[in-house]
Amino acid sequence: MTRHEFLQLVDQVLELPVGTLTPADSFQEHENWTSLSFLGLIAVVDEEVGITLSPAAILKCATIEQLMDLVADKLSDHRRAA
């Protein structure tokens, strides 16, 4: 999955038109971010990327860029372990 595609997933989770968010945006401060979108984000990453993100780690991400870095780190750990 490319970073661009990941960005579109976050748009989808926050129920926004594709292309709305940029990597510098804070997803947690968006008005559409709720406890349900928190679950939706974990679910969509689990389904599309194949990794389960820790909620605590997600909460530490100030921007979508940081979230993408978290996913990339976790994915490379996952591949090393496989």
């Binding site: 406890s35 349900l36 679910a43």
Partner: protein, 355 residues
Amino acid sequence: MAVGRLSQVRLAGLTVAVPEGLRDWHEQAAQFGAESAEKTAKLTGVFHRRTAAPEVCASDLCHLAAEQLLDTLGWERDTIDAIVFVSQTPDYPLPATACTLQSRLGLPTSTAAFDVNLGCSGYPYGLWIAGRMIGATGFRRVLLLAGDTISHLTSPDDPATAGLFGDAGTATALEFDPLVGDIHVLLGTDGSGESSLCVQAGGARHPGPGTQAIADPSRYLHMEGADVFAFTLRVVPPLVTQLLESAGWTLDEVDHVVMHQANAFLLQHLARRLKIPAEKLVVALDGYGNTSCASIPLALADALADQLATEPQRLLLIGFGVGWSWGGIALTTGPMPRPQIVVCSSTPRELAAHS
């Protein structure tokens, strides 16, 4: 994960009692706004649920379920060797609610009785504990009573829990039978999750506030939904895979997968991840809500009553949640009396007078 096996144990019957109080998601619409409440109800699958009046305890619902089950099976009370009450909403800090149920059910004083404090994983654990007591040189008949009134612990102001939980009590009859196949069991625990699903007050560590302190959040169930979700994704897929390996089954050979009825979104996500076909996944949330340790037997009675009454069924029963604690059971049921769901309209006093 701890691996176990039960031999010569038959699941003889099952009855569920639910309270008559029927609740509807519109209550949450009034409290949290229609859009938010509807989204939550769609995600959880709970548009309606049943909750017990404040004076009705899990033991009352289990009592009714047990009375009905003993009648259905025609079991004499003096043939019961033990009762195990699984609940996180016992009648008292002490004595054990199982002791009160021995008396209320008119069981002989030779009955062994004790409580098990587990929630969402409680039914697989209860089957394992009750089943382990049964054998050629052990007990012959054991009643597993699993029930909770978690709705009494939820805050009406908490959108994460207010419309999700329902109440139910169940009775499951297990008996010695040298001719049945083995039941396979897997159990596990990760207590680092204690704060993610917790009622802080009321135990010995934080005794106060009393139930009168309505505004104090520590008396209510606190649930970190994202933590619960991530825990489940971490634990349940390997639990199911290892349970199938232990039983020597493939998923194709399983008739139904009955998981703890946490919420519909979670169950459907797990099913996709584990490639469980939709027709094998039991989702029985609407009408009842998440009923904690009662949810698996309730789902069996709600969704599979006809199948259980007519044909042998290969089942995976998967419990997971508060603790973190989890357990899985792989068993083949034989035909049993059709599992019933009875609606409890009696007060505890009326139930006591009836028994």
